[in-house]
Amino acid sequence: MASSASTFTPSPRPALTGRARVFLLRLRSGDEVAHLITLIFASAILLITVLLAFELYRNSALSREKFGWHFLTTRTWDPVFEDFGALPFIFGTVVTSAVGLLLAVPVGVGAAIFLAELAPPRISDALAFVIELLAAVPSVIYGLLAIFTLVPLLRTVVQPFLKEHLGFIPLFQGPNYGVGLLAAGLILAIMIVPFIVSISREVLMAVPVEQREAALALGATRWESTWKVVVPYARAGILGSVFLAMARALGETMAVTMVIGNDPKISSSLFAPGYSIAAVIANEFTEATSDLYIHALIELGLVLFILTIILNGLARLLILATRRKGTAHP
């Protein structure tokens, strides 16, 4: 804009016309500089995303040409005869993330409500610190925890119990190895709870105190004011925390591969071993030699990228829908 303004005036030292003058003023006050710098940073994010998608697309050409859309529906993953399909990995990724969220959301939101609404501030702050510490633990540590503690517990206690009492449901049938979809879902739940608690707590604490006072003034009990006023008010923020947790669960690699059993099969049982997209890429990329094999692995990356975009898009829609229902948001 500014440069086009200066081209209007042919003289080498242009007099300050209106636009240029405003630009210079803004430049001197720092606005224009700040605008430019932040714009560059913001567009860098967009650029990285576009480049990532482009590179994933470009480097999966062989696999896309050979398998087409069948890649998404094929159950085979055979590096020897070079027949590749993504379905078992998509299945494993979605199922483990779903199990993780199913277990983590009630626990996480419940803990956040306690910390924000019911606990004395000192305990709340101390616990919040511990939770943020948990969020910073590297995932390989969680993986080791899972291998040495969670998996033996599942094999000797939890899964035999589930099999005995809920064995009529296909979810809890089949051989019991300890490792499998349930173990991966559980460790994901443990890993994402801190995200849900930490963010939800902040959001709940940001609800204006007038909202609570108004509810109490109308004769609501403390729990009624929390459950019927504060939580709905913070709903969008809580959902946001859940979707951030979901994004982490979908992309988690190390802890999942350590306990999921790494077997690309689709099974109705949660006890059965499975495989996730991120895990197979991490496992097989370093030793993949043929071009088609590498391209198939990169196409899996593309699939995960698109899966994340779709699920995040759905999340946005859900947030929009809850807003339209008339509940406020912070």
Partner: protein, 353 residues
């Protein structure tokens, strides 16, 4: 809101600029002062031989302080890709490159076997402490999912006194692509036509049954934790971690326990066929003492190295590796090359121009 004045901005830029020149300026001059080492060789590839390679490159650097050989253990696949792209001077692979892969190179590549590794079956059966003996048919049957119980006749036959239980066998394999898996599946392909036609051999395969563990430690961990399980790990890993492992019947009909000597014996058994091509599989090798599940690991060297100084460093190093280098390998639990193979490699060194 505080207004950001242009003066502030200019001042900050000046201060930051001055700071940067102060910090970076002298340093760059310091770095530039000593001449760069005259010979820097870069390589990348397999992780299995990394401990011995880094020892060799380190010892060689001590002998020739002006020569530095960098090795990145990024995996065989990565090493091959980087060599193909010309970003490294040499590659390293646990699996010999087939003709199709070699055809994708714009230059000729020679394989130099460096050391030998072996893969052993390891198991965990509560109540069974005896050292188990495995026939090739039993191993293939278990990994194909056709032998599912420990008291199958194929297992109880050679292990009469072991009192094997009637429990289901839990099969464990590597989940990450690895040379270990290549050797294991190459062996199973050789001893079982069924395995060869339905699964085949590669660094990763489509496993008919079983759980996947990441790395030797992942497989060993799963086996240790899961009752009635069987897995396979590198011999080095089993030795270093006191992991019990079974004997395997070789082509002469003897049940051989894997050891550095029995692995070298296997390589000696096929050395005669290596005159023509060193890219030979040594699984199920002939010889009474030969352990059947082992393989070479290779350095991949281009035949034409344009830079004369680099060429000299690489060929000198390979000569050293075949002589002095071989004396160091057993301290790290690798099996050394048989003399006959060393002689063949000395000859092919002449092809590097």
């Amino acid at each position: 809101m505080k207004k950001l004045s242009a003066l502030h901005l200019v001042l900050t830029l000046v201060v930051v600029g001055l700071g940067l020149t102060l910090v970076i300026g002298p340093k760059t001059r310091l770095v530039a002062a000593p001449p760069p080492p005259p010979s820097l060789i870069n390589g990348a590839g397999a992780t299995f031989p990394y401990p011995i390679y880094s020892k060799w490159f380190d010892e060689y650097h001590k002998l020739h302080p002006d020569i530095q050989i960098n090795y990145q253990s990024i995996g065989s696949g990565g090493g091959i890709q980087q060599l193909k792209a010309g970003t490294v001077d040499f590659g390293a692979s646990d699996m010999p490159l087939n003709d199709q892969l070699l055809g994708q190179f714009s230059f000729k590549v020679i394989h130099f076997p460096t050391v030998l590794g072996a893969v052993v079956p390891t198991y965990n059966i509560p109540g069974v402490n005896a050292e188990l003996k495995f026939t090739p048919e039993a191993l293939a049957g278990i990994y194909l999912g056709k032998i599912t119980k420990w008291n199958d006749p194929a297992l109880t036959g050679p292990n009469a006194g072991a009192n094997l239980p009637g429990q289901d066998i839990v099969v464990v394999h590597r989940s990450d692509g690895s040379g270990t898996t290549f050797v294991w599946t190459d062996y199973l392909s050789k001893v079982s036509p069924d395995w060869k036609s339905s699964v085949g051999s590669n660094t990763s395969v489509r496993w008919p049954v079983g759980l996947g563990g990441k790395g030797n430690e992942g497989v060993a961990g799963l086996v240790k934790q899961t009752p009635n399980s069987i897995g396979y790990v590198e011999l080095i890993y089993a030795i270093q971690n006191n992991q019990p492992y079974g004997r395997v019947r070789n082509s002469s009909g003897d049940f051989v326990k894997a050891s550095l000597a029995s692995v070298t014996a296997a390589a000696a058994g096929v050395a005669g066929q290596m005159e023509k091509d060193v890219r030979i599989s040594i699984t199920d090798a002939p010889g009474k003492e030969a352990y059947p599940i082992c393989s070479f690991t290779y350095l991949l060297i281009p035949t034409r190295i344009a830079d004369g100084a680099k060429r000299k460093v690489i060929t000198d190093f390979l000569h050293w590796m075949l002589a002095n280098g071989q004396t160091m390998v057993e301290s790290l639990n690798y099996a050394r090359l048989p003399k006959s193979v060393v002689a063949i490699e000395r000859k092919s060194l002449g092809q590097i121009q």
